[in-house]
């Protein structure tokens, strides 16, 4: 009897080839241990609310009212909801074509897209067209939609930073394209050298690959670096010269923990550079409600803004979006609230600012605690988390450890992370999930555990690492930088 349709052998190879380590082996093992009763600290994914960060009050009030509009008819509603939340709920409901339960326009509610455009304009100082903004069920869906348009076959290459957030490698794999890596420089604070880009592209082309697009993640994931304006200019010029679409993943734009390099959007820099570049370079910028100080991962809300994309292409992207009918409406309202938060004078303004600042300042402190904690270990080198939500320390593994890993049939950083998990309950993602240079090992953890628990977590890590090193170390011959 021949193979059945859903036998493993008959599955689409692209599916089998794709990997997404963030919820891969380590996470599955951690979940098993959790079921057995072990206390697990999940630092494998940027999921703030799962680690105790509280949702901002105002948006939750507004959305609760939108979920149950009959509350707005109740004379007592003002007793438990502030007037500005009530007003805002009415505003967003008026933008819908039947409340949260009706499909919206496939690109998202026009009223919300207008608010997003206004936000972009305030942020960058340049006009933004709501017609070129599409809301999506999370930024990831937007990335997948755009890559699906770009990738035609395995000769199409996408430039992706290494280390990268594995949504990109997984999606390129699923779509049957080719990932063209460009290496970020760890010794230079994960900096981007345009020469690396040129080399990557040249070698790709020499192997018959058509390089179509370049991904930048700014601030970076897992690396956290914030790109300088000069760097962004170089990148945009490069994309212009090489005729690449720039995909700007800017989901961490609110998460900045140093003052030397504030966030500047790729769009702003592009517009600042003026014609002809500002009219030539094709750019798609992504944002989300999942990160920042909002952390509303479970809502699945995001958008992308298209710059210099021809109208007929925009139509095709719209067509594909329409097959999915519409992004979820609650998340669209979260997005509207994020881009137009309470203003000075609003009843909820003080509380909103207090909550937001509290979260951001704590994240800044936690970034420091973690970086310093890792750096205090002899065999660990950790660049400072300039932005985003992660720490990506390099673990220098001694040859005996690498040998033991091999014998256990595991990649060395997976081996280390599994041992860390079993000893301490700390669930991380091995660096191999993000890409790294040969012979260099990292792990990614988030900076999200509660501030009061951080010192204990870092101590726990240090204790494990010291024990690991005394078991496998011999004081010299570490894995190289």
């Amino acid at each position: 009897m021949s193979l059945k349709a859903l036998d493993y052998e008959s599955l689409n190879e692209n599916v089998k080839n794709c990997q997404y380590a963030v919820r891969g082996e380590l996470y599955l093992r951690a979940s098993e241990l959790q079921k057995e009763g072990k206390k697990i600290i999940f630092t494998n994914v940027g999921n703030p609310h799962a680690l105790g960060q509280k949702p901002l009050t105002f948006p939750r009030q507004v959305v609760a009212l939108c979920q149950a509009p009959f509350l707005l008819d109740n004379p007592n509603v003002g007793m438990i909801f502030p007037a500005d939340a009530i007003a805002r709920a009415k505003h967003y409901l008026s933008l819908t074509s039947g409340g949260l339960g009706a499909y919206s326009d496939s690109r998202g509610l026009p009223g919300v897209r207008k608010e997003v455009a206004e936000f972009i304009q305030r942020r960058d100082g340049y006009p933004s067209d709501p017609e070129l903004i599409f809301l999506t069920d999370g930024a990831s869906k937007g990335v997948m939609q755009i890559l699906n348009c770009i990738i035609r076959n395995q000769k199409d290459g996408i430039l992706v930073p290494v280390p990268q957030y594995p949504l990109y490698s997984a999606t390129i794999s699923l779509l049957g394209g080719t990932l063209v890596p460009y290496y970020l420089e760890e010794t230079d604070n994960w900096g981007l050298d345009v020469n690396n880009l040129r080399q990557s592209v040249a070698q790709a082309r020499s192997q018959g690959i058509t390089v179509r697009a370049m991904v930048i993640i700014n601030p970076g994931n897992p690396t956290g670096q914030c790109l300088s304006e000069a760097n962004l200019r170089e990148i945009l010029k490069f994309c212009c010269d090489e005729r690449l679409v720039l995909l700007g993943d800017e989901v961490y734009q609110q998460n900045i923990y140093q003052d030397e390099r504030p966030f500047i959007s790729s769009k702003k820099v592009l517009m600042d550079m003026g014609a002809p570049l500002s009219k030539e370079v094709q750019l798609i910028s992504f944002h989300t409600v999942s990160k920042g100080y909002w952390g509303e991962c479970g809502q699945r809300g995001g958008y992308f803004e298209m710059t210099n994309i021809p109208p007929r292409t925009v139509e095709e992207i719209y067509k594909v979006a329409s097959i999915a009918l519409s992004p979820n409406v609650s998340a669209q309202i979260f997005m509207g609230l994020m881009v137009s938060p309470p203003k000075p004078g609003d009843i909820s303004y003080d509380q909103f600012v207090r909550e937001s600042k509290g979260i951001l300042e704590s994240l800044r402190r936690r970034a420091r605690i973690m970086t310093d904690g890792f750096n205090s270990c002899k065999n660990v080198v950790c660049n400072f988390t300039e932005g985003a939500m992660y720490s990506f320390p390099q673990i220098k593994l001694p040859p005996k450890a690498i040998q033991a890993a091999k014998q256990a049939g595991k990649v060395p950083d997976v081996f280390y992370c599994l041992k860390l998990l079993e000893a301490t309950g700390i669930s991380t993602v091995p660096g191999s999930g993000f890409g790294q240079k040969e012979g260099v090992f990292h792990l990614r953890t988030t900076i999200l555990p509660a501030e009061e628990e951080m010192p204990e977590i870092m101590e726990s890590f240090k204790k494990f690492n010291d024990e690991f090193m005394s078991q496998y170390g011999d004081n010299f011959g570490y894995s190289r930088m």
């Binding site: 009897m1 059945k4 349709a5 008959s10 599955l11 599916v15 089998k16 080839n17 794709c18 990997q19 997404y20 963030v22 919820r23 891969g24 999921n47 703030p48 609310h49 799962a50 149950a68 509603v77 438990i80 074509s97 039947g98 949260l100 339960g101 009706a102 499909y103 496939s106 990738i151 035609r152 395995q154 080719t178 990932l179 080399q199 070698q203 790709a204 082309r205 020499s206 192997q207 018959g208 179509r212 090489e242 005729r243 094709q282 479970g298 809502q299 994309i309 007929r312 292409t313 095709e316 067509k319 594909v320 329409s322 097959i323 999915a324 009918l325 519409s326 609650s330 890409g435 040969e438």
Partner: protein, 536 residues
């Protein structure tokens, strides 16, 4: 000096443990081949034969993925775009049109046409949205006691009560337990929460299965004609082949096994490997509810031919005729004695339809049974790349599958709302069906279920010629004329495919009851004048 080694490539894309077939080498550029190339010579490559910098085009219509260009989705296609422009223009040029509003009968979007959500469901959702409410005394005056209890129960199943956190990629376990229990109560056969994958609506689940099943255009999926165009679009996007099987309009859109067999053989002779059979029950756009006997034949067919049965059952709560009943394919298969080893079955459900109509919340699930654990791992892996479906939609899916029970405080009002909506839909279906059957040249099968009527229109030759002159399909020509004369938005049958040479259109039964007489009048008037103009 950096060294580029193929090992780095391997770090980015893990090896599968099985040897990969030749055509699927690691799709990561190997940077091993030569020494690092000096920067200045990068420009040389643009002149070299075999390099592609001149064709490294920006994203234009000529360079995007051809699968994207190929796929179509008529439900929100050309006619809707025209309607939206008309609607905008109506605001400023009220007198320019023979109608004063656009009525969207093109899409199953009940709440956009004033259908109200189920109160109990929204109470629970509101409490889960803003959990601080549960700590306040005033809440008891605003919410029913059982909605408060249910919210607590749900929140206890969510780690940290954090509704803003990503959940398990299959959906929150406790909610899947509730869904599995609901499936068991419905069918009388057990359901495993680990077989359930919660998705942002049913559509992403369909896409996931197409992705798994389709590797090339040699992979075919049997689809009903007429079909809901998600299937044709998804198959096109994934580069597969749609293998049509025609439903029989004369017998109330019946599904004949002989037709399935014929199409399967035909596909095989063309070198297509048919992988799955998609069945929509109740049907969209056709509205038929399959008989149990028919369903047994279909299950046997899939088992015999080794096909995955993709059972789109999103309209399972929409049945309007006393002589038909919904039976899930899972129940049918299990009652035939077929278990996990006998048939691969994927059942899709959504919160968008039924009597709840929560389209904008994007909630649904697929129950995947009859496949090995290594395949389940692959499905899980694909689901995990998108992390999880939206939590609010997950909560709603669990409520739909475990609604208030007799004795619950909200039961009476819940039942009244549910039955109010469903009985109204049944009335509207009947009224519109009767009205359409009165029109010259139009025959309309009854809507046994779902939310649509799909009448057949016998267009006169003159009309067909006029359509050809306008370079439009005849049914699109009719629908455009209808839109411009009445403001009513329908979807031409060509969007769903039909037996060649026949013409249809799809109209939803969703406008509120008080609007139905006006719709009937306008349709009737328009049709008469159309026939007067084009009658042979």
């Amino acid at each position: 000096m950096r060294r580029f080694v193929i090992g780095q490539a391997k770090n980015l894309i893990d090896q599968t443990r099985r040897p990969r077939p030749h055509h699927n080498n690691i799709r990561l550029l190997s940077l091993l081949a030569s020494d690092p190339i000096p920067v200045s010579s990068s420009r040389l490559f643009s002149d070299m034969p075999g390099s592609d910098s001149s064709s490294s085009l920006p994203v234009t219509i000529d360079s995007i993925n051809p699968n994207v260009l190929k796929c179509e989705y008529a439900v929100r296609g050309e006619i809707v775009n025209i309607a939206q422009k008309l609607q905008d223009d109506l605001k400023i040029n009220k007198d320019a049109y023979p109608f004063d509003e656009i009525i969207y009968c093109n899409i199953g979007n009940p709440q956009s046409l004033s259908q109200q959500p189920i109160t109990f469901f929204r109470e629970v959702l509101a409490l889960c949205s803003h959990t601080a409410l549960l700590d306040r005394d005033e809440t008891h005056a605003l919410f029913s006691a059982d909605s408060i209890a249910r919210a607590w129960k749900i929140l206890d199943q969510i780690p940290g009560k954090a509704t803003g956190a990503y959940s398990h990629s299959q959906g929150i376990k406790g909610l899947r337990d509730a869904i599995a229990a609901g499936i068991e109560a419905r069918d009388g056969f057990p359901a495993d929460p680990n077989d359930i994958f919660m998705t942002d609506g049913a559509s992403p689940g369909v896409h996931m299965m197409m992705q798994l099943l389709i590797s090339s255009e040699k992979d075919g999926i049997l689809c009903p004609i007429p079909q809901y165009p998600l299937y044709s679009a998804s198959i096109a996007l994934h580069g597969g082949s749609l293998v049509p099987y025609y439903l029989d309009e004369a017998s109330g859109w019946g599904l004949e096994i002989s037709e399935l067999k014929k199409q399967l053989e035909d596909a095989k002779s063309k070198g297509i490997t048919v992988r799955a059979l998609a069945v929509i029950n109740p049907g969209n756009p056709t509205g038929q509810v399959l008989s149990e006997e028919n369903q047994r034949d279909i299950v046997d067919f899939c088992k015999k031919e080794g096909l995955v049965l993709l059972a789109d059952e999103v309209y399972q709560e929409n049945v309007y005729v006393p002589d038909k009943k919904f039976h899930s394919f899972k129940k049918v298969a299990r009652s035939m004695g077929y278990g996990e080893k006998d048939i691969s079955l994927v059942s899709f459900q959504s919160i968008s339809k039924g009597y709840y109509g929560e389209c904008g919340k994007r909630g649904g699930y697929m129950e995947v049974t009859g496949f090995t654990s290594d395949v389940r791992e692959q499905i899980y892996k694909v689901a995990s790349v998108n992390l999880c479906s939206n939590i609010s939609g997950q909560i709603l899916a669990s409520l739909v599958m475990s609604p208030p029970k007799p004795g619950d405080e909200s039961y009476e009002s819940y039942i009244a709302e549910k039955e109010g909506i469903l009985s109204s839909m049944a009335r509207r279906a009947k009224t519109l069906e009767e009205a359409l059957n009165k029109l010259e040249g139009i025959t309309c099968n009854r809507a046994e279920g779902a939310m649509y009527l799909f009448p057949c229109i016998n267009l006169p030759q003159k009309a067909i010629a006029a359509a050809e002159a306008a370079k439009t399909a005849p049914d699109t020509f009719y629908c455009k004329r209808l839109l411009n004369a009445t403001g009513i938005v329908l979807v031409p049958g060509s969007g769903f495919r039909q037996v060649p040479g026949t013409w249809h259109f799809r109209c939803t039964i969703l406008p509120q009851e008080d609007k139905i007489p006006a719709i009937v009048n306008r349709l009737t008037e328009f049709h008469k004048s159309f026939m007067d103009e084009f009658r042979d």
